[in-house]
Assembly symmetry: C2
Homo-oligomer: 228 residues x 2
């Protein structure tokens, strides 16, 4: 069996897949793409993923993009523990319900805030417009509130029931993203803070390992902000 993971730890679903495979003790060949050098736009990588994004897997020649589709495929191929993506139909449906919900309801808003405040100024050398950022901040905070109310304070220990699943892993990696732009969801939402600590602990030491670069950026940004 040969499994390659194309990824970059600045990408939230890349981190989730990296942590998942490490936790599952599933051997894979790491293929890191330097996104700031634009390696994902290269001809070679475009032939692997026409969407020029990470993460992607190559499993014995079968190439697949989209983190949620990848997780499900890995589960069917018995490469990740059943506890993290249950085979039982109703339990699996609860996990799927979150995995589908999060795209537009959580991921989009955290990503847009991060992109507007942190990424675009680096990529295009432009400063963000304060009013635009205010709109994105508001939408992200609404999304985080909805996430906390409807998935974390919903009577179960974790997102999709009383056990940790890939739903928790994907979500926790997502809410790390705005930290690089100076917003830590755990500072604003008690439910998110408690839950994320439990999830991080479960996936450690791989969780911290996957977040070394991100945490360096968070600290650097905090120092710059303190100087202002």
């Amino acid at each position: 069996m040969s499994l390659k993971l194309y990824y970059n730890l600045m990408s939230q679903p890349s981190r989730a897949l990296y942590i998942l495979l490490k936790t599952a003790k599933c051997n894979f060949e790491p293929k890191v793409l330097n996104l700031t050098k634009g390696e994902h736009f290269s001809e070679e990588y475009t032939a692997i993923n026409r969407f020029q994004k990470v993460p992607v897997i190559d499993h014995d020649g079968f190439i697949l993009s989209e983190s949620v589709a990848i997780i499900k495929y890995l589960a069917r191929e018995n490469l990740i523990p059943e506890s993290l993506y249950p085979k039982e139909s109703k339990l699996q449906a609860r996990v799927d319900e979150f995995l589908e919900w999060q795209h537009i309801e959580l991921r989009l808003h955290c990503a847009m805030y991060f992109r507007t405040k942190y990424m675009n100024p680096i990529l295009f050398g432009t400063k963000y417009d304060a009013k635009t950022l205010e709109g994105y901040t508001h939408r992200m905070e609404s999304a985080l509130e909805k996430f906390e109310t409807h998935w974390l304070n919903n009577g179960t220990e974790y997102i999709a029931g009383d056990s940790i699943t890939v739903a928790d892993l994907l979500a926790v990696c997502e809410i790390e993203q705005p930290r690089m732009a100076g917003y830590n969801p755990a500072d604003h939402f008690e439910g998110i803070s408690k839950w994320s600590k439990k999830v991080q602990e479960y996936f450690n030491p791989h969780y911290d390992e996957a977040h070394v670069i991100l945490n360096k950026i968070v600290n650097k940004q905090a120092k710059s902000a303190a100087k202002l």
Copy 2:
């Protein structure tokens, strides 16, 4: 077995599920929600779906939201044909890859155009801002172009291979949405036009039946536009 479908045919994933269940000859109790009367915000419906959205299924008391999660659940419960959602791991992964891709890459942009140009003026009595609409139109057209290039002109007959699957059904219902706001993707993209005809034909007579209300709105809007 008791299956209830809570839906409204103005909602694109509602139409997809309605057509899917009819095509599968799967008996279900139709539960239509009047969205303009705000029935989805009622206490009774909020107890069924805390997100106050359609579609939702109730299968012998098991309540599930999120159309993609519902499709996968129905497949596991053998309530829809295997050809439309293959059990074979790699074929299923190709369908999943699209189902995950479409949320932010296609659905979001068609929905935002529809909402801005058609829905918000009705709901809030406000006229859209021309520059804002221009931005949404541009993003929707880019999304449709990406969809045509990478999924339709990708060397296979349908989205996820040479057979029709739920990926085609979900996508074709999605691109009907902007028609209500006066934009028909099939008029602008030849590949989309050819493909959508084949998919509609496959799912008829249920396809047309599910689009009666939508087509009435499209015709009414076209007449109003002609008078201007």
